[in-house]
Symmetry: C2
Subunit: 221 residues, 2 copies
DNA sequence: CTCAGATTTGCGGAAAACCGTAAGAGTTTA
DNA sequence: TAAACTCTTACGGTTTTCCGCAAATCTGAG
């Protein structure tokens, strides 16, 4: 079982809740941090002092603040730490269920467990910790399906770039120019038109404003 | 001081956190509910039994579930209760800081306090409860500015309706037809064009897709 | 290398959106 | 009631987007 745990979580209500889970499991040393940068420093310092933390429980989204943080998200924090302190186990504890994000975070391998803060967050986190002590991974049941299914429409970098310009108010002519300058291909007006038509069909959108709406709702852009 | 409090909150971590605030204030009877419908029934039942709750602490957003709830949001719940049990004090405890939503909820008068679940949620909730015991209202400091300032661009029902159709992929010709049928005025193609142009200028959008992006980002649509 | 297939491009015409102007309808003010 | 003003509509011309076809270019297999 773990006995030196760091919680990186900005909401203090949740902090208290997590603390209670840990106390239930008779984990003694519990530290917490409301900022990513601070969490990072504590973890590094502890490692240098040869009193390393053995578990990080970490939210994904941190609210911006008057402080300006270098590390702005749990994903960035976990990604750094997985490289620098490979022994550290990391649990992502978040409300984020968007397929694209879950998929990205999980497949990047920065997390040993992914827990959803929902009605069963308490039980779920408990299970995750137990799994991790026996070197298992853990994925919240509600998102297990997401990864296996190919229900996530993947867009290429080219398509995302194109959509970015459309959503920022560039005309097709302007996009044509920009792509030509940046040597992004294909960049003919014809190809741009065609690709946009494809995307509209893919997402069953009748017009470009409609397409933007659909993509925003799916959080693809 | 209150002594019979109901917490309506789906995330159980937060539930635990709130519980701790209440215990700190030596409030004895604490009940909680992870669903709006259930919370509503408990409050009504208690009122009928002459053991009414005197405070409701209520989240705004509840995650959908296999159960289908009639009351889907804290706003709907609070709105119902303020009518049916006027004596009940209501604290909205949420992460929702969007000006439009804060403004709507607060100005509707359904809440006696509005607390943001952030880094200082604990302190903030504590303060709110103390204020309410002396019949004061309470608004989280981070959103106080929002209400006074007129930084919230208010759109008319007409404008919102128009934008709804644009975002759903209707052409200007189609919108013209729909508005004529529904006797929404103005409905000439010319007026629709003009209004859209106005909106683009108001939000500094170059194209309609751009306008949709901006409005989505502002959560206006 | 050569041919087949896919991708990219160019182009012309149709449809939709855009824009300014002026006429018409409805309101307010004197 | 008339004049001033605002809001709505009609209309003509321009720009942008949309669409399909065919030529050109690229790619990979034989």
């Amino acid at each position: 079982m773990f006995n030196n745990v760091l919680i990186a979580e900005d909401q203090d209500f949740v902090n208290l809740g997590i603390r209670e889970v840990l106390q239930n499991l008779e984990i003694e040393k519990i530290t917490h941090s409301q900022y990513c940068d601070e969490a990072y420093l504590k973890l590094k310092r502890a490692a240098l002092d040869n009193k390393p933390f053995d578990l990080l429980i970490c939210d994904l989204n941190f609210k911006a603040d008057h402080r300006n943080e270098k590390i702005e998200s749990g994903e960035a924090l976990a990604s750094l730490l997985k490289k620098e302190i490979p022994d550290l186990k990391i649990i992502i504890n978040t409300v984020e269920e968007h397929p694209n994000i879950v998929k990205r975070v999980w497949n990047s391998g920065i997390a040993d467990a992914y827990v959803i803060k929902d009605r069963n967050g308490f039980k779920s986190l408990e299970t995750a910790i137990k799994k991790l002590t026996i070197n298992d991974k853990y994925l919240a049941p509600s998102i297990e399906g997401i990864l296996s299914k190919s229900n996530v429409i993947e867009l290429s970098d080219y398509e995302l770039e194109l959509l970015k310009y459309v959503s920022k108010g560039y005309s097709q002519e302007e996009i044509h120019q920009v792509f030509k300058n940046y040597k992004i291909s294909p960049n003919s007006k014809s190809s741009i038109e065609k690709k946009l038509k494809e995307l509209r069909e893919l997402f069953e959108a009748k017009t470009n404003p409609h397409l933007i709406t659909v993509l925003k709702d799916l959080q693809i852009i």
